[in-house]
Symmetry: C2
Subunit: 209 residues, 2 copies
DNA sequence: AAGATTTGAGAACGATCGTTCTCCTCGGGG
DNA sequence: CCCCGAGGAGAACGATCGTTCTCAAATCTT
């Protein structure tokens, strides 16, 4: 993944201000993530990423030969970090039903962050999904991974298969609703709904007309 | 709302090719809706809307003095047409619970349309919500109206207040999920979940720990 | 019928942006 | 000590886009 053949020993370690390729890449990805997520992809120019990261344009284009490449790197990294953060939070609980509900607690914490602006993949899909197929594919893959994770949590709780789909819809709806109305409250509502669905199926499905 | 003082009688009716202001506005809005929805707002230039609508740039800018103005008109019209279409579909049913479930049937029909690409407001919000506050506000207002409609359906079915929020999250989640995975199936899943929630509360809330 | 006015088609303008190029600096090897 | 290649800062280039302007044709007014 790293473009320049990271290092026959310390060929270019220079002094003081000089930064090596790995930290340059980190700074670029940090800047790209902050800016792309906060303002949208098309609203952020490469020059702004250069300024925010402190990396020269030349090096920026050596690390990512095009903006499309940088966008893909941004989405890739956002996907793994987002899912890792969620999994770390859920792993603090042991009871299978509690682990499912913890997903919505984690969502609430996320929604309450001051710079929360919805799901980066939904936003990117809405902006570029029709034009850049790589973005559409990244969003699809991210949601698929997330849904698979929910499905694993559901089967661990002995919940029937469709429940995982229902949880996914609640979580997904909470994300976009929280973003648009600007409140973390949908996380609580989604958690309540998830609780009802868990209880309804646990108590035997009394589905009368 | 109409800019040019629509008509001391037929002041400008010309012949043949000439089109009057009302049909020009319709053609512009049709073109804007198709293009903005299909490809995103920033990906469509004013020149393309001119070509698609067959209206001259001058007239286009007389009807909508800026692209931002056209975008707001697009969102306004999309909001009322979308909600009108949904209400017409739901009004074909009389049973209060059936009316709630009909929302998800309507969603399924929408998702199955070949050019379905998610909720126009979610997409616009993701693309421009951080930059253009009018877009963010339009999305918020649209979701609020939709949620109010669901709340009315829920109270008509004697459902407890939080159920309306749960239905909203399911519908919202189904929209973005259907868009990203490219399948209308989430509508069925959301309908199933709604059904479970309706039954769970109808049968008395058996919430045990 | 003739001048005033409006319109459409499209060129033009200015700004922005992705990408590349230039120039200058700086460190290392003879 | 002097050439050399690499790197940084930023100018430059080409394309796109929102918006305005030009100019000629067509219409309305009188």
């Amino acid at each position: 993944m790293v473009l320049c053949a990271r290092g026959q020993e310390g060929k270019r370690e220079k002094v003081g201000e000089m930064i090596d390729s790995e930290t340059a890449e980190l700074r670029v990805l940090d800047a790209a993530e902050s800016l792309f997520y906060a303002r949208g992809i098309q609203a952020v120019g490469m020059d702004e990423i250069r300024t925010a990261s402190g990396v020269s344009l030349k090096r920026l284009y050596r690390l990512h030969p095009s903006k499309a490449d940088l966008v893909e790197a941004y989405l890739r990294r956002r996907d793994v970090r987002w899912r890792r953060s969620l999994a770390a939070y859920v792993d603090a609980r042991t009871d299978p039903q509690e682990r499912i509900l913890a997903v919505f607690d984690w969502l609430h914490d996320w929604f309450a962050e001051p710079d929360f602006r919805g799901c980066a993949f939904v936003n990117s899909f809405g902006e570029l999904g029709a034009t850049e197929s790589a973005v559409a594919e990244a969003a699809r893959a991210h949601k698929e991974e997330f849904f698979r994770y929910l499905a694993d949590l559901a089967t661990a709780a002995d919940a029937p298969t469709p429940l995982a789909d229902h949880l996914a819809l609640l979580a997904e709806g909470a994300m976009t609703t929280a973003a648009i109305i600007g409140s973390p409250e949908p996380a609580h509502q989604a958690r309540d709904a998830a609780r009802l669905l868990l209880d309804a199926t646990a108590n035997g499905d009394a589905r009368s007309a």
